[in-house]
């Protein structure tokens, strides 16, 4: 029962850690917009954490530049299990307009297992919330799977 409580709670209190992997800041602003009064993601328990140690969901924006790649990976690795990786915007998925640049290493899924992709340039807040909700579900699943083993 205690276990179930924890799994339930995991679905209700996902904390975000936001990594900017060379983004144009459009997605970053949009992510913040999700938390402001109009869309208020906090009503679902979403909260921006200051340190990856406290996060459940990592939100990556930007095309993953050469400069940022090792840092992104390092920060992701420092998030404790169970964790979910969400890419926000088209950049981390395809490179978007930066594709083909010498300094772009993306997509992110080349390096880590990405759980949710939220496409768009930039994605609408509704889409972001939807994506996060999906990620939360995956988080709960991960927790349950880990619990069974």
């Amino acid at each position: 029962m205690f276990d179930k409580l924890i799994t339930e709670s995991m679905g209700k209190s996902p904390w975000l850690f936001h990594i900017n992997a060379g983004s144009c800041n459009g997605c970053d602003i949009e992510l913040v917009a999700v938390l402001t009064p109009r869309y208020d993601a906090e009503r679902l328990g979403y909260k921006l954490a200051g340190s990856p140690r406290q996060a459940d969901i990592v939100v990556v924006t930007g095309p993953v530049t050469k400069q940022s790649l090792p840092r992104v990976l390092r920060a992701i690795s420092q998030v404790p299990e169970p964790r979910c990786i969400v890419t926000m915007g088209s950049c981390p998925q395809s490179g978007n307009v930066f594709r083909g640049s010498y300094s772009v290493c993306g997509p992110l899924s080349k390096y880590v297992h990405v759980d949710v992709d939220v496409a768009g340039c930039t994605p609408k807040p509704e889409a972001v919330i939807e994506g996060l909700a999906t990620a939360t579900k995956i988080l709960m699943e991960k927790r349950q799977k880990g619990g069974q083993k």
Partner: protein, 655 residues
């Protein structure tokens, strides 16, 4: 009783004899250590044997050297007199000295001139012990000279260390001014009373206060202040501690300052107990509060481990002086309690600083860091000391500080003098500032990141850990059983402080004090000295255990680590299957520090500007203080002279 009578002189002589024997036989290490051990263990045993009659039975042991007992009410010979107050300080000293000696065996083993070190060490101990057990003013002066010389020589012992010689010279100059004050004061008292015996002076003076005796009080007071390093003599302590070897620091802070305090208490409450006590109290409390605050702020500005500890030492002495100056039973009792605690925790902290110096070769807070991984036991011991001095319950500093707050506040309410209230507030704030500066030390020495050059640092040897362990244990015990300490140690001593008649009669025969028509200065009441019930601490312990148990149980059913493992395995499998960049790249940085995603580099947050937010607001004060502590010996001498002049002026005004 007849046997016990010889114990005090034996205790003193054991040190001096040891010093002599080490000069003769000191070349052999084993023999030297044996002599050192025996000559510090013997006085401890002898004085412990006196606990029962003196502290519990409130006997006073008078010992006349060469059996020159007083004739016709005149004390001719040199006397030792051990009352509860003297024995209390004697026990403190014997304990601290014993521990410091154990520590020295390993700590000093790499120095040359070891025999000289032990000789001076034992001379210092003998001097202090002679001082507190003496019943004769001139004898006290002699002992003060012995201990000053020994302390100066020990300060300069590692004369290649930065500033050791300089510190020794400054200490010598100001210390000699203090000694001369004591001598002059002694002589002025002699001129009036024609006796040097404490008991006889105590009987004579109350009825015969005049300008000369009051000036003598000021002179003696300033002299004892230089020994206790009360403000304005605190820079000397800082310099001396910074340069001296750690066990000597223990002696200087735990033992030498106590002798000064003992002198002040004896002087004020036994000899000059009929002076205008209200104003004298105010004076003592004022000096104590100033010492407290000035030294703790000076400590915040330090970046050398031992120098910082030295300033704290004086800050705590300020507490003792404040409490002892209240002239209430509770005040004196709490002051003595804090004096005892000061010896214990300050000794512990200095020994920890010594351990750090021994292993790393530096005490610069900016250079150290992360030692807790290399020296875990020293860290724990240091934390015990740090919590004790900051007055965190349930360590001993809390018990005594709590009593001091009660005492000062009670005094403020009783006398209606808002100045004493000020002392309470200063004491409380100082306590927090103390905590702050020990957080700084903990952060920049034991926690944080380990610099590369200290990768090979090891835990200190068993002997040193044993010495620190004894003190840490005492810190905890005296904190957990404050009722025991107050009942059996400090209250008898406080009673002795106010029992001048008892003191006089024991020395000069029953009825002598009444001959001079004296009454006990102050009634003794310990009603307010009750300390909280220990059940609360048991509860704390229980809750702690409960919390630990809950965690232990819950981690048994913990699936998280399993989860992490499976996730890592899946990651690895995926990395193997798909053409991924840098397989296993994710696991790499997991257990490193978070640096905003950067690879972790060495970036220790040092102690220097840790409390910037505080210092910024006080920047004018700090720069003023920095300029004031100029390090020029003339300035320090000037302070001494000014203090002397003010003390004499004040004494004459209040007469």
């Amino acid at each position: 009783m007849s046997m016990l009578q010889h114990f005090p002189i034996c205790a003193i002589m054991a040190y001096f004899l040891g010093a002599f024997l080490i000069v003769v036989f000191g070349r052999n290490r084993a023999l030297r250590n044996l002599i050192g051990f025996l000559s510090t263990a013997t006085p401890l045993c002898l004085l412990t044997a006196l606990v029962k009659p003196v502290l519990q039975g409130s006997d006073v042991i008078a010992y006349w050297m060469g059996s020159r007992v007083p004739a016709g009410g005149y004390a001719i010979g040199i006397a030792l007199e051990v009352d509860a107050l003297g024995l209390f300080f004697g026990l403190l000293i014997a304990t601290a000295v014993f521990v410091a000696m154990i520590y020295s065996f390993s700590y000093m083993s790499h120095d040359d001139n070891e025999p000289q070190y032990y000789t001076l060490f034992l001379m210092l101990c003998g001097g202090v012990m002679g001082f507190v057990l003496s019943g004769d003013l001139f004898n006290m002066f002699i002992m003060i000279e012995i201990l000053t010389f020994a302390a100066v020589a020990l300060t300069a012992f590692r004369n290649t260390a930065n500033g050791a010689l300089e510190a020794a010279f400054k200490y010598l100059v100001v210390g000699c001014i203090g000694s001369s004050c004591i001598l002059a004061g002694t002589i002025m008292l002699y001129a009036q009373a024609h006796t040097l015996n404490f008991a006889q002076l105590a009987a004579f003076l109350p009825g015969n206060l005049n300008t000369a005796t009051v000036v003598a009080y000021a002179l003696l007071f300033i002299g004892f202040c230089t020994k206790a390093f009360i403000v304005p003599f605190h820079p000397l302590a800082a310099d001396a501690h910074g340069a001296a070897p750690a066990p000597v620091s223990v002696l200087i802070s735990g033992v030498l300052t106590k002798s000064g305090l003992y002198g002040i208490i004896r002087l004020t409450y036994i000899l000059f107990r009929t002076m205008n006590l209200g104003t004298v109290q105010f004076w003592l409390v004022f000096l104590g509060s100033v010492s407290m605050f000035v030294c703790v702020t000076m400590a915040l500005a330090q970046h050398d481990f031992k120098r910082l500890l030295a300033f704290h030492s004086i800050s705590q002495i300020g507490y003792v002086l404040t409490a002892a100056g209240l002239a209430t039973a509770l005040g004196v009792s709490s002051g003595l309690y804090h004096a005892m605690n000061h010896t214990l925790f300050k000794g512990l902290l200095f020994l920890c600083a010594g351990a750090v110096l021994h292993e790393t070769g530096t005490t610069d807070l900016g250079k150290l860091g992360g030692l807790s991984k290399k020296m875990p036991q020293t860290t724990v011991l240091f934390l015990v000391g740090a919590f004790s001095i900051s007055g965190i319950p349930p360590f001993n500093g809390f018990a005594s500080k709590w009593m001091i707050y009660q005492a000062t506040y009670q005094k403020a309410v009783e006398s209606g003098n808002i100045g004493f209230l000020f002392a309470t507030i200063v004491a409380l704030v100082t306590s927090t500032l103390t905590l702050a500066s020990f957080v700084k030390v903990t952060q920049s020495v034991f926690f944080g990141q380990l610099p590369k050059e200290y990768e090979n640092v090891k835990e200190v040897s068993f002997g040193m850990r044993l010495a620190m362990g004894i003190l840490a244990l005492l810190c905890i015990l005296t904190g957990l059983f404050p009722g025991f300490v107050t009942t059996y140690l400090t209250e008898p001593a406080a009673r002795a402080v106010f029992g001048a008649n008892n003191y006089i009669n024991a020395m000069l025969g029953t009825g002598y004090a009444q001959n001079f028509g004296l009454v006990d200065a102050l009634p003794v009441s310990f009603q307010a000295a009750g300390v909280w019930s220990p059940i609360s601490w048991l509860c704390l312990l229980m809750i702690m255990l409960l919390a630990v148990a809950i965690v232990a149980v819950s981690s048994k059913y913990d699936q998280v680590s399993a989860l992490a493992k499976t996730a890592a395995a899946a990651e690895a499998a995926e990395a193997k299957a798909g053409p991924r960049y840098g397989s296993g790249a994710l696991a790499e940085g997991k257990y490193e520090l978070f640096f905003g995603g950067e690879e972790s580099v060495f970036s220790q947050v040092g102690g220097d500007d840790l409390f910037w937010g505080f210092k910024h607001n006080w920047r004018h004060y700090f720069s003023f203080m920095h300029e004031l502590h100029s390090g020029i010996v003339n300035d320090y001498a000037l302070w001494a002279v000014v203090a002397l002049a003010l003390a004499m002026l004040y004494a004459m005004i209040i007469l």
